[in-house]
């Protein structure tokens, strides 16, 4: 009947080390592994560099994309514009976390009475996952202000954020839902048997476990969101990518775009490593608790 696995939930992962973070490979001899990894990385980079620099158009590309002078010149202004990306990201993130959770909860409501709400959640996620983000941003950003309704903001940044919230909530609600469904039904039964209402059970027992399990995939979606803030620039808001294009058009040199790329990567890479670390920590915890009888 109910086994160990049943009790511990469904997200059991086989004992395994992270392939990326564990540079040393499988050997016990850590230092030797590290040296080999270093040498092979250097050789690899040299080979790639050699191949690219031998390309017929390399000189041309280097002048147009890798000009240190232009980089230094354009960087401060793009960095200032990048603050708008960060702002959009932060505001959108808060609303996405809340709205997506609401959608996920709607979708997990049982019984025929709640069919309309469940159906709404399904249609919503299907629609917004199916439509390209840039299309939603363009439609809302140009369409909503054009209504000229009293009390409705006309700021393109505002509508850009709304569009991102609508699209990303669809993705994130699916992540939440996977988390909710990964909590074993026996947990709900145990809570209800103690007299907790359905709402109390959700709030105290189901959601805390579900959210904990989906933090890594949530962060993954937020890395995507941080990149997609650049799409708001298509509405005319001067964020990093837009600013870089303005600079590039003014100087006929594309190095500014590289500066924008550096800024995005500077935020998304730490986020990605943090996600990896969380997954690894989670796995270690599971293994630790698995060895205890």
């Amino acid at each position: 009947m109910a086994s160990e696995g049943d009790r511990r939930g469904d997200l059991e992962i086989a004992p395994r080390r992270s392939r990326i973070l564990d540079v040393t490979g499988s050997g016990n001899d850590g230092r030797r592994g590290l040296v080999i990894a270093l040498i092979s990385t250097v050789i690899f980079l040299l080979l790639v560099g050699f191949a690219i620099s031998r390309a017929p158009g390399w000189q041309e590309v280097r002048r147009a994309f890798f000009d240190w002078g232009y980089f230094k010149e354009s960087f401060p202004e793009i960095a200032r514009a990048f603050m708008l990306n960060v702002k959009i990201f932060m505001i959108a993130e808060v609303f996405i976390l809340v709205f997506a959770l609401l959608l996920a909860v709607l979708r997990s409501l049982p019984g025929p009475v709640f069919f309309p709400l469940r159906a709404f959640a399904v249609v919503y996620t299907d629609f917004f996952r199916g439509v390209p983000t840039i299309l939603v941003i363009t439609l809302l950003g140009f369409g909503a202000p054009a209504l000229q309704l009293q009390g409705i903001p006309t700021s393109t940044t505002f509508w850009g954020i709304v569009a991102l919230v609508l699209v990303y909530s669809a993705y994130v609600s699916e992540v939440y839902r996977a988390g909710i469904e990964s909590v074993h039904p026996s947990q709900e039964m145990a809570a209800r048997s103690l007299g907790l209402s359905r709402g109390q059970t959700l709030r105290r027992v189901i959601l805390p476990q579900a959210v904990r399990r989906v933090i890594p995939p949530l962060l993954n979606d937020f890395i995507g969101l941080q990149k997609d803030t650049a799409l708001v620039g298509t509405l005319g808001a001067v964020e990093a990518f837009q600013q870089a294009q303005i600079d590039a058009n003014a100087t006929f040199n594309y190095t500014a775009l590289l500066a924008a790329a550096v800024l995005f990567v500077a935020i998304t890479i730490p986020l990605a490593r943090f996600t990896d670390w969380l997954i690894l920590r989670d796995r270690r915890r599971r293994e630790a608790s698995g060895t205890l009888a």
Partner: protein
Amino acid sequence: MNEALRVERLHKSFGRIEVLRGVDLVVAEHQVICLIGASGSGKSTLLRCINVLERIDSGRILVEGRDVTARGVDVNEIRRQIGIVFQAFNLFPHMSVLRNITLAPRDVLDLSRSEAEERAVALLERFGLGDKRDEYPDRLSGGQQQRVAIVRALAMQPRLMLLDEVTSALDPELVAEVLEVIRELATGAMTMVIATHEMAFARDIASRVCFLDDGMILEEGPPEQIFTEPREARTQRFLQRIIAAGRL
């Protein structure tokens, strides 16, 4: 003697499989009823129906004279008065032992934090778990987890306890400590319905033993009678199999 529980002509199907086919059962206050029978005979389902965790198809279940299956009954209020303990413990893994126990008293009974914790600590100490209050469930042995689960149910001060094969998921050396807890409850005059495969324990503790077969109570009586001179051929066969397996 007051009647704690009455089950009348209870039917329950899952899809096309009829699991309970007309169960009748009367439990007086302070009685300990042991349900025995093969896996799939409907023991767990019967307990879950009594706690309104399963919707029944027909029949009636009265808890202290109150029909818990009637329309419009507040199921949360019913469950407050009936404790149930499961085979797989089902502790909340993200909460400490103390929080597992105080959750329902605080959220459902609206006890203050200090009141709920006082009650929880007293119960933990009574069952030899005083030093585990701040541990998380996955740091405990199966026997300790099951004892915590029993304490969690007791913290609601139930009028009736349902135990669903609470030792079946335990390693053999951990069974005794859990049975000891149940024995202590029986001494304290707790009304209990216990589904179990521990026949020696059932013989020892039960006021009455009910043999469930194919969704019906085929035979019931005092333990001496059921275990030594069962009337029904099916009961005899079941007990012979148990004896052959060395469980009695």
